[in-house]
């Protein structure tokens, strides 16, 4: 944990301390804290029984499971690809390298609905690649695979963004040392480079998963939003809200909020561990 230094140059009672903490919380209250709180309050306002039955509704369970599974596979892919891309981009210089780095980061800034739309344009039944699949009697859009694809696109830069800086700051003498000792590139990567990236990989994975599980804009376009088939948790919430079933929507919202709370807590408290990696040159 980062130690907070005492302000030794301040004498007597430091008025700035309660005031600044108060102002910060006052700003956060209507913007972040109250909205989160209201989910919990409304979700449980009709009693825990209602909350529980909303939670174990088959469609709700399915939506949560689907979200977990699709987010999981998107995370697996993006961590592996992010690791690979970070390795390539920090070890090799080539023409257009900077352009690639910028392109990888793009999905962060593109509206997720546009991402979904773009995937439809490419893979949809009448689109370029979609027609190829159709010819083989298969289709990608409006299936769970489409959701994974959308998640991959949207969370693409996250793991890469965490892993790349660690690669960049890693001293090349470690890899050189391994080489002079007699290790092949693969042995060096496996025994030396990868262990040093452990923290970054875990951090990147958590971040990717957290982002993927909340994804809405792109999934609603590519999944078809079919309850019990391609409806993820965020889509379920939206659907139930539209149907006026606020309790059902809220129950799942609570689960998602708790989940991301846990993920970010792990990220925060694992920071020691993650930073420890970064310190080692």
């Amino acid at each position: 944990m980062v130690k907070i230094p005492t302000l030794r140059h301040v004498r007597g009672f430091d008025v700035a301390r309660p005031v600044s903490i108060g102002v910060m919380l006052a700003i956060m209250l209507p913007l972040v804290i109250l909205p989160l709180l209201s989910i919990f309050l409304f979700g449980t306002s009709k009693g825990l029984g209602v909350f529980w039955s909303a939670l174990i509704a088959p469609e709700a369970i399915f939506a949560l499971k689907l979200s977990m599974v699709t987010s999981f596979w998107a995370t697996v892919f993006n961590v592996i690809f992010g690791l690979f891309a970070a390795y390539v981009l920090s070890r090799y210089d080539f023409w257009g390298r900077n352009a690639v780095i910028v392109t990888i980061s793009l999905p962060t800034a593109i509206p997720t609905a546009v991402a979904g739309f773009a995937l439809l344009l490419l893979w949809g039944p009448n689109a370029t690649l979609g027609r190829l699949l159709n010819a083989h009697g298969k289709h990608l859009m409006f299936t769970a695979y489409a959701i994974i694809l959308a998640n991959i696109f949207v969370t693409f830069p996250l793991a890469f963004g965490v892993i790349k800086p660690v690669f960049d700051t890693m001293s090349s003498s470690l890899e050189e040392a391994a080489a002079t000792i007699g290790a092949t590139r693969w042995q060096t990567f496996w025994h030396v480079t990868l262990p040093s990236l452990r923290g970054a990989i875990v951090g990147g994975a958590l971040l990717t998963f957290a982002r993927a599980i909340g994804e809405f804009g792109s999934t609603i376009l590519v999944s078809g939003n079919l309850a019990g088939r391609t409806q993820t948790a965020p889509l379920y919430i939206f659907a139930k809200f539209n149907e006026g079933q606020i309790e059902a929507a809220n129950a799942i919202a609570i689960v998602l909020a708790l989940l991301s709370f846990i993920i970010f807590s792990v990220l925060f408290f694992a920071r020691d561990w993650l930073e420890f990696e970064a310190q080692e040159k």
């Binding site: 001293s171 003498s173 470690l174 050189e176 391994a178 080489a179 002079t180 000792i181 007699g182």
Partner: protein, 411 residues
Amino acid sequence: MIPKMALARDTDQLHVSWAPDRQASTGVAASVHGISKRFKKTPVLEDVSFDVAEGESLVLLGPSGSGKTTVLRIIAGLEQPYTGRVILHGKDVTDLPARERGVGVIFQSYALFPRMTVEKNIAFGLKIRRRPRKERSETVNRLIELVQLEAHRKKYPWQLSGGQQQRVAIARTLAYKPQVLLFDEPFGALDAQTRVKLRREIRALLRQVKVPAIFITHDQEEALELGDRIAVLNNGHLEQIGTPDEVYNHPSTEFVATFLGAANLLLGVVVPGAVQVGVARLPATEETKKFRAGQSVKLVFRPEDVCLSPDAKLPAGCRRLANGVIEEVNFVGAYERLNVRLDLTHRRQTESEAPLYDVTINTPEKMTGVPIMVTLPKPEATATRYKAGDRVAVGLTSFSVLPNYTLARQR
């Protein structure tokens, strides 16, 4: 700590095994022939050649940017030479990648694997060579004992002190019996006291394991203490290679003279049997042999090679140079440092003439004296008690004569 223990130990068991197994060798462990290297268009090394004998330790000494690290990286296979060959135990390894050369590199940062314990770091070389587990643990045990890290074998690198990390780095390379050990500025990251202690330890360790070593340093004291021989590099050129005694006492270039310790330089001309410096004439039959009369030279001598006398009587073995006046006296601990101005413009004195009183430090128009630096050992300094303004006769116990090139490329 190591030297004492190492000597006390039963040496038979430890001696043999760390040098690579090899058949009848020629005595040369590693050599580079005509190495040159360019980065982009800038030449960083030009035609560098040297040999390292079996069990020898050679120090590459030079200022930063002299190319010494590049030489080391070329031997290790981490850098490709532009021209030239690298030979390890008779085998040309110039085209082999680093991992097939079997050299041990001790990086300045030690480059220990942060996720591995001391044991695992040391075992790494054997692990990737797929040696049986039993052999691995035996080797690791012996090496941990050799570098005295028994108490730290389960620790991670960040839990160790700089000196301990360095010992792990050495043990890690010894595990696979390296052809040659390469030390890149091994004491750069340590404080002055630890440096002195560690280089004695390493020296003792190397004597024990008998693996040839090449050190890189910019510290002349370190070079003198660590090297069986010293190779002085400057601007990508090998200026001189020789034993510490040769390099220090008989520098073959001006750079070597000034880089390795302090040196006084005076311009002179060779006359038959002597060097003429201003009006002073220094008898030098031996040193001027390779020069023709009338050739412009530089007279090079170390501050400790100067002898002073308040009267005309210089000690035996000290050749008289000129008269001088003491300008400044500094006590610097182990010895006393004096700035002396030589009278090189006045009439030449005869051998037994008492010092003249023409050079003075007080009036600007009379500041014609040529400054030199002199160090006196403590006993002599306390016996004579020179002070600023004293007139002295100045002589030299030893000196070198170097050609005075006007252009660097004439070298």
